[in-house]
């Protein structure tokens, strides 16, 4: 393999790489960011035989959109990253409630590996059903 990556993972979209038709992959920061997104999207008791892995974010999205819920989501995100993503060190997590669009804007800044500057992740959390 020509380039040596620290982290390499499947892309869950399972798209084909246009060049060689192989399954597409995620590397380094992208792999870690995807991993964090996966963790946040996993509910408790969803993983077989590992009920403790997963967050309550899904339930919190059905609470009133308020600074209190935002703070709880913040704690939940921090807990998930601290416990299950050893590659990322939290620099900042900010969740702001946006009652008008019934959603939360999430900003996560993490140091991945021994990076000098944090990587930012921006996510909009909105309940879908």
């Amino acid at each position: 393999m020509a380039i040596n990556y620290f982290y390499s993972d499947l892309d869950l979209t399972f798209l084909k790489k246009p060049v060689d038709g192989d399954v597409s992959m995620k590397y380094n920061e992208q792999a870690v960011i995807r991993s964090i997104r996966n963790l946040l999207a996993t509910n408790r008791f969803e993983k077989l035989f590992q009920p403790e892995i997963g967050s309550t974010i899904n339930q919190l999205l059905f609470e009133p959109v308020s600074p209190l819920s935002a703070s709880l989501i913040e704690d939940e995100i921090a807990r998930m990253i601290d416990n299950y993503e050893p590659r990322a060190t939290i620099s900042q997590i900010k969740v702001s409630a946006d009652p008008d669009s019934n959603s939360f804007a999430v900003y996560i800044a993490v140091f991945i590996g021994n990076q000098a500057s944090p990587t930012a992740i921006n996510i909009i959390l909105k309940r879908s059903r």
Partner: protein, 692 residues
């Protein structure tokens, strides 16, 4: 990628081990490095694969379990395994009772009681159960009275089912006809086959039990349990049993029973007329037996291999036991014991003894015994061995229990504790006693009492054993009551006692209010001393010393030719229960040595007498010797015992004795039990702890 599959271990069966196996495997490659992080997509794939692997492993394990009789869990698997061992699980058994039915004013020479007439039991817990008679009976009428004696009636509702045989069913050798009722009692099954719908006559088919005797004309059906738990019948293929033809009409009739619920019903009313007459009375002879539900999975697992190993023959003890357990002619039972005549006391060679304890009753009736011998045992036993069915010999336990409890640890009243302890003791009796080869275990009894409630601090009990029998009031008889355990040599009023009071004839006078007791004997001395080793070279007579827990026994030796010839007891002494004989060589004898002897204590046999209290309430002996007590063997013998009355409506006499040990085991046909019909069998005294 690592090529070798050696990193994958196939022996792991749980999720975590399988997943860590996958991780170990992936460590050998460079393409996907994120296998070890919970959030990674790779980890999600690994979870799925590990789950799938575990699911398949679990499933295969379960499939393998169901393939063996020992480990199968589903009833259908157990039944299927048992089928390979030629074992058909037993169906529900209907409780059965015996009644006499009397008709008066009958204007004919004979009266026929057809099968399946309805009887209704008196309410048990608010429910009246339907019983039916199972056989057709005809009796002659005398003076307008028709009396049906000993009619067996079974709890249940008659049902029947008809199938018309089609040609596709005949061609399919595996075709079975289902009996759609789950609670059928298959011992009541009657299968008939009519040639076609236009025929009126029919053939009765019998249950096939032995493949060796079947031919192409044998009218038999095969019975088996289906996968859904109902029963189904199949017919012969033209080689083993007669083959059906298209257009035949099969009629299956049977009883569906409510199982054990009607147990104990003992009052019946006839609901339908017989020849236009209603009975003047229905007298209950035997209350309804317990009956039983469908055979449990555990029981099938236990019975099937034993039944198979007996191969339909009775040679060893276990063959007899399993043959009887398999088929008691529908009589529910609690236990069976079998022993060879050579083990019997006294030995009877060429016989084998069988004892059967029916559920909910004490003894089998005479007819039931004859039927079990001739229909169950005789056809499969060795020709020169005579099977004998003997009644169980019951030894009843009477317990006087004192319970010391702390009222501050419970909110139960003394009466509630009393009835709770009684119930615990009864449960102990049902679990540990009441069958053959059981042992009365003091520790388990005390734990049963203790475990009833945490407030119980300690308890103790006083145990006596009772034998109950029906003495012949017309002629003198000898009775041997075997207690099966050594008895205590009692002092006045604490040894052998009897109840209720008896009447004896003395010339022309009838004396009542008599009781049996042990003749008090306080002095227990040495009966004899036997020489076990005469020794040698005695020049002088050695000294004989008797050491024991009594006092005053002396004896001297008789020496002849340097050997001790015998030892003579001079004074028997008294109060001995054990005695040791020491032989000391005389001081001036330097050569004599080696002599030894043992002592026999008298009173190995006690004597029984009858007494009464005369008009001035003075106890008088009526007959000073009516029998003996063998304390060591635990046998009470009554010789020429001829009471003319017993103050008890049943005519039953109870003789109680105290065992000298509290470990009591039953062997042969003996059963230790707590009499459920005796309210005084368990007496509980509760003593509250007082805090002062």
């Amino acid at each position: 990628m690592a090529g070798a599959n050696s990193t994958i271990q196939v022996s792991n069966l749980d999720f975590n081990s399988i997943k860590s196996n996958f991780i170990t495997y992936l460590q050998g490659q460079n393409t996907f490095k994120d296998y070890n992080f919970e959030g990674s997509s790779m980890s999600i794939l690994l979870d799925l694969m590990a789950y799938n692997t575990q699911y398949n492993a679990y499933y295969l394990n379960m499939v393998a379990n169901e393939m063996f009789l020992d480990s199968a869990i589903q009833r259908s698997s157990v039944v299927s395994q048992a089928k390979l061992l030629n074992y058909t699980p037993k169906s529900s058994a209907a409780p059965s009772a015996v009644v006499h039915i009397n008709f008066t004013g009958v204007n004919s020479n004979s009266l026929t009681l057809p099968k399946y007439r309805n009887f209704l039991s008196a309410a048990l817990d608010g429910v009246n159960y339907n019983f039916v008679n199972v056989d057709t009976k005809t009796v002659n009428v005398f003076n307008g009275v028709a009396s049906f004696r000993n009619v067996e009636i079974k709890q249940g509702t008659p049902a029947s089912f008809t199938y018309t045989v089609t040609s596709s069913q005949v061609n399919n050798l595996n075709y079975v006809y289902e009996i759609p009722d789950a609670t059928v009692d298959t011992t009541t099954l009657t299968v008939t086959v009519k040639q076609s719908s236009s025929n009126t006559s029919f053939d009765v088919y019998q249950l096939a039990t032995n493949g060796l005797t079947l031919s192409d004309t044998s009218r038999v059906y095969f019975l088996q349990e289906s996968l859904t738990g109902t029963y189904e019948i199949a017919f012969g293929d033209g080689l083993l049993g007669k083959k059906l033809s298209p257009g035949n009409i099969i009629n299956i009739s049977y009883l569906t029973t409510e199982g054990t619920q009607a147990a104990g019903a003992n009052s019946f009313q006839m609901m339908s007329s017989v020849g236009g007459y209603f009975p003047s009375e229905v007298v209950s002879v035997l209350a309804a037996t317990t009956g039983s539900g469908k055979e449990s999975i555990d029981s099938i697992k236990f019975q099937a291999p034993k039944s198979f190993s007996a191969q339909g023959r009775a040679v060893t003890k276990n063959d007899y036991i399993s043959a009887i357990q398999e088929n008691t002619l529908g009589i529910p039972f609690d236990g069976v014991n079998v022993w060879g005549g050579e083990e019997n006391d006294p030995p009877v060679y060429g016989q084998v003894f069988v004892s059967l304890k029916p559920s909910g009753g004490y003894n089998l009736t005479g007819t039931q015994k004859i039927r079990i011998i001739s229909e169950v045992i005789k056809p499969i036993s060795v020709m020169t061995v005579v099977p004998v069915l003997v009644d169980p010999d019951y030894t009843y336990i009477k317990l006087n229990v004192s319970v010391f409890y702390d009222p501050s640890k419970t909110n139960l009243t003394a009466d509630q504790i009393k009835s709770g302890v009684t119930a615990s003791i009864n449960a102990f009796g049902a679990k540990e006693l009441n069958t053959f080869n059981s042992t009365f275990n003091t520790y388990n009894l005390l734990s049963a009492i203790q475990n009833y409630n945490q407030s119980i601090i300690t308890s103790e009990f006083n145990l006596s054993l009772q034998k109950k029998f029906f003495p012949n009031l017309a002629n003198p008889n000898n009775y041997n009551l075997i207690y099966g355990t050594p008895l205590q040599k009692g002092a006045f009023l604490s040894g052998v006692t009897s109840s209720p009071d008896l009447s004896f004839a003395s010339g022309n006078i009838i004396l009542s209010g008599m009781y049996i007791e042990e003749v008090p004997s306080f002095t227990v001395g040495l009966e004899s001393v036997s020489v076990t080793n005469p020794g040698f070279n005695y020049q002088e007579t050695p000294t004989v010393t008797i050491l024991g827990d009594g006092t005053g026994a002396t004896a001297h030796a008789v020496v002849s030719g340097g050997k001790i010839k015998n030892i003579v007891v001079d004074t028997p002494g008294n109060g001995y229960t054990t005695a040791l004989v020491t032989i000391t060589t005389a001081l001036n004898d330097s050569t004599g040595q080696g002599g030894s002897a043992y002592a026999t204590i008298e009173g190995g046999l006690g004597i029984l007498r009858t007494y009464y209290n005369n008009a001035s309430s003075v106890k008088s002996t009526f007959n000073s010797n009516i029998g003996t007590i063998d304390y060591a063997k635990g046998v009470i013998a009554l010789n020429n015992f001829a009471p003319i009355g017993i103050n008890n409506p049943l005519g039953q006499l109870t003789i109680s004795a105290k065992p000298s040990t509290s470990i009591i085991s039953s062997t042969y046909n003996r059963i230790i039990t707590i009499d459920p019909f005796d309210p005084s069998a368990i007496t509980v005294t509760v003593i509250p702890k007082t805090n002062s």
